[in-house]
Symmetry: D2
Subunit: 357 residues, 4 copies
């Protein structure tokens, strides 16, 4: 009996998506009689019935390819957060298309939002397996998501390049790293790039403390400083605000967080400071060796789960073992950096400041 597997990728694109898709497909073809249905542009394709029957050759040569051969989307699923009356139709449409495509199961690659919907579909009776994808590494239940380590490589390379300018010009460089809620990417790339200050959403900062670090370095003869700042970093005042209030304040400002901090440091510490916002390059391009291995492991494990008839789970890395968690336990639960995390302590112990006690 041929098993029909639907695959979709949803949310922001991320290195390793194609490697994971290839892992599912190659392992499925290897292990059992398989037909793969590629659903276009994430949940949009499932809602609208936009898909293609794939053939084996389409999974060849994609291990190293950035992005996703299936396309992705953010919109439909953003409107789906709360399952109200409006959304019933979308869920119904997805269920109907799952049936129309004669799927035996659905492999869904995505982040927190994607997993919420995956869990919903699972609760609605579909056979769903989630794969944890995001450069933010903020999915509960897995030590690492795929895409994260590639993003760390890119952000570190950015910091390396900025280092030479900082040093040659005696400047303070404020580098804005992706991560609205979770500081993992900033924490790792900040340590790897030799940052002097790391600011993450989980540890609200005081600008005066940051300025003191910069001044202390200048007094010690080091005319430059490197700050790795998460997009979502916030100072103590902002941390006290309600989320909506804070977001409104941010949206109203023409300055991003790195630009604001650079301006403040020029004012307070009297240094020349510049913001750098590498932006989307942090999520693009070929996956690193690490992420190719992890994505492949995740994809293969998904196929193993299909073989074994295990659904309603999300694949995970725990320690060095690839395993899986119930969707119902992990879907939508964010994994933030604990303020007493060992990495934070290690960073403090080599003198990196978090702008806070």
């Amino acid at each position: 009996m041929k098993r029909r597997i639907g695959i979709l990728t949803s949310g922001g694109d991320c290195p390793g998506l194609n490697a994971a898709i290839r892992g599912v497909a190659r392992a499925a073809y290897e292990m059992f009689d398989t037909e793969i249905i590629g659903i276009h542009d994430g949940y949009r394709g499932l809602i609208q019935g936009d898909y293609q029957v794939m053939d084996r050759s389409q999974f060849s040569g994609i291990l190293t390819l950035g992005g996703t051969i299936l396309g992705t989307s953010r919109q439909p699923f953003r409107n789906m957060k709360v399952i109200g009356n409006d959304n019933v139709d979308k869920v119904a449409a997805m269920k109907a298309n799952y049936k129309a495509m004669k799927l035996d199961c659905l492999v869904i690659l995505g982040g927190n939002g994607t997993h919420k919907t995956a869990n919903l579909l699972s609760q609605e009776g579909l056979n769903v397996i989630g794969l944890p994808k995001t450069i933010d590494n903020d999915l509960y239940g897995t030590d690492f998501t795929f895409g994260f380590h590639t993003a760390v490589d890119i952000a570190t390379d950015v910091i390396d390049r900025i280092h030479t300018t900082a040093c040659s010009h005696g400047r303070c460089m404020v580098i804005e790293i992706m991560g609205n809620k979770a500081g993992w990417l900033t924490l790792y790339s900040g340590i790897a790039g030799g940052a002097d200050v790391i600011l993450i959403p989980e540890i609200p900062y005081e600008i005066e403390r940051v300025a003191k670090v910069v001044e202390a370095r200048a007094n010690a003869g080091k005319s430059f400083s490197i700050l790795a700042v998460a997009e979502g970093a916030m100072d103590k005042e902002e941390a006290k605000m309600k989320k909506k209030e804070r977001e409104a304040k941010r949206a109203a400002s023409p300055q991003s967080i790195s630009q604001r901090i650079a301006a403040q440091l020029q004012d307070i510490a009297g240094v020349e400071a510049r913001a750098v916002i590498p932006g989307h390059i942090q999520r693009g391009g070929s996956p690193s060796a690490y992420d190719r291995v992890l994505s492949t492991q995740f994809g293969v494990h998904a196929a193993e789960l299909i073989r074994d008839g295990i659904f309603g789970v999300s694949v995970a890395l725990v320690g060095n073992t690839v395993t899986h968690n119930p969707l119902s336990e992990i879907a939508g639960v964010p994994k933030l950096v604990p303020t007493d995390h060992q990495m934070v302590q290690i960073a403090r112990n080599i003198g990196i400041s978090f702008g806070a006690k």
Copy 2:
């Protein structure tokens, strides 16, 4: 007789500065009795007499190092553009320090502004040799400046990474490449990165033409487009303005050029568009193999000129030969992209649009 060579690096930092410094030093040590004086932070060090006597080991291991071991500055020299009464003192100070350091000559690494001052010092009787450094490639008299090809590599890598996001999300991505006056960096990296549209200062664009390219691609089933846009790109209206007026308009806007174009394309073409501003990463990090070779050639040729007593010149690459031009003929003459340049024609012939006829 020991020759005393002063070296300074001025203007924005740039890959290859250390390789060029090493080239001068190693060739000088190899060819004649030499003492090298490293002047700190560009013209600031010459004005203020801030320098160090270098020893041979300081030039070891710096071939691959980004930035400049001598430091650089932009400020003093910015105020020196016009040689009025105010500046006489600075020039006098530089001449006095040149004398006080007992220099036989001065090797100056920098871009257009730096070369203007170098020419001035040469006319004041100092023995000056210029080395053409800039990621903008906008110095007259040399086919390429060092730093340019490394910046092309970096900008191309940025476009490559953005490509996967553009393609996966079906988005229009507007990438802002360094270059206020000259479009060389955007032209080369745009072609290397497979951009669909290239906008450079030398060819004023019409946003409607750009929008049509994006729409035509969408109609042909290509849901994404890549735009490589120079910082200094301008539309036809801006091109008619006086420079000051245009700069004032730009300074007043919270949007950079790429952000403005992305917003316009969303409006006109109804596509999802995003701006990416890689910024300073384009000028940092280790020089590419090409730039290490070119910087070394330039540095060695400077030492050969010192050996031969030839001053008042700037080193240049013409075809594949390293040679030199009189400072008086090239200093401060910008090298822009001719609108009928072969590269522009070649770009047009593969269907790249410049947003203009």
Copy 3:
């Protein structure tokens, strides 16, 4: 009271050594009153009393630097494997110099051989902390050694480049990856590089099975194949030999393992086959972001152990936690790839052959 910490790096060089040294030093300076003694060229420097008192600035800017600023050596320690009468003097010399340098403890960075000696010195009463360094990842007690993931990146990049030649020429390419005893590097880079066959020392292969894979691919229209082969891979006949016998056989052959396999495949499968031996490039250059973080964590944890007076241990990564194991339990115990390791199973499940059942 100032603590005097001796540091030495021993065995083959490896990315991350300088990052780990910096981690020890910066954390020690940050946490307590410290003097760091850099011992030259591994155990040679300890035996011969060749060292320098370091100052803080020497640990600046080395995070990204490949190799080791302290130098390393293989020889003295190779003769020290068995502690017979001949070696007593060397151990005595090391103890005497430890005393003469007035060390409070010794941080030793190295692989299996290095750790054996470290354990010996610990048993002789010195305060020793080991840091697990090797691109082979074959140290017992730690999930990963630093240097390993950088080597995986390099080996994967090699496979990527070879892929295009293999594909364009319809050739079988046999890539020889470092690893005499352990196949970790070949396993990871083989999966990351999309190899069709992975041969590792732990799983003896049959050349006929390998040839069949190549033929089956050719029959399926894929004219090329990629083999990732560990230096220490062996066929079933060799696996039956005693180690000395096998090594003698290898030493007598002008062919390396990859060259032998390429020749055999030409004979058996009638394909065009080529060997590629990237060699030392797998252990050189700047550490990856992953290894910079891991090396820093390891170095900082060593300083924490010194602070807490815990010696006779080796630092380790277990899951995602940095911790430590008694030297006596882990020293010299090789960590090979279990033949039923999850990664091996995953590789098999996407159709990668190990040339064995």
Copy 4:
């Protein structure tokens, strides 16, 4: 009237082949009514009539792809060097297939051997345009071939990585760079990688001079040396031999040139020396930005020549202008490094030894 353009790639694969193919195709589609015929595996496909009619989408996304989408071969054409009775049939077959495919012209991408055949076909009356491809840069009439600068980047990266091992272990590392006849790749990457000694076929070396450089460095406290050695480098005795004699001698030795030199240096200078043979990785992978631009320029110029009805030529870069030369003047003429080339002199002036006066 639709023009039918045949394209084939012949000889060793090389970065930029696909970029050049894309350049031809996109410019042809843009400029005139076009049909492209892709001929498989170089001249083999032309001899055997193995080809496909391409569609436009096949040229999309290949700018950055290493290798060649058309495949390549070395064999048939090697037997075609001299046009004797045996070969008449092959040439006749190529002419017949050209006619059978109804080609208006043939664009041939390859090196010296490929161009000889291209010239032959041109003299037989076919409309032929050559594109100069080779990592060796040894084609007469063009300043640079595409593929060369990417190979320089890779070889330089290899030297960089080896540098750290050389330095950490105090070793002499002998790196064997591709180039049997011409030393361009070794010369450029040797300078870019900071080699101490560069040995190229054009300048026969004396091993004693090489040994003296290594010893002099050791005496000056530099315990390591880096040698960049072309595959085809030869000592003075070998240089006196006839080519066949020399090749026979080489073929009879189990040692490659780098292994031989490493062994000799161990003997003569008493240093620890190691050979590194990166091999095929120098010709694989994605083309650099430089080569993407050059390949595109070459491809577009070929299409411009087709538009203008100019055949019997090979495209070339002269200075910074893309132009073309008559095939009859350049085909099969090797471009070696002149012993008095400016780059050689510049290398000597920074103290690099060529092992010769």
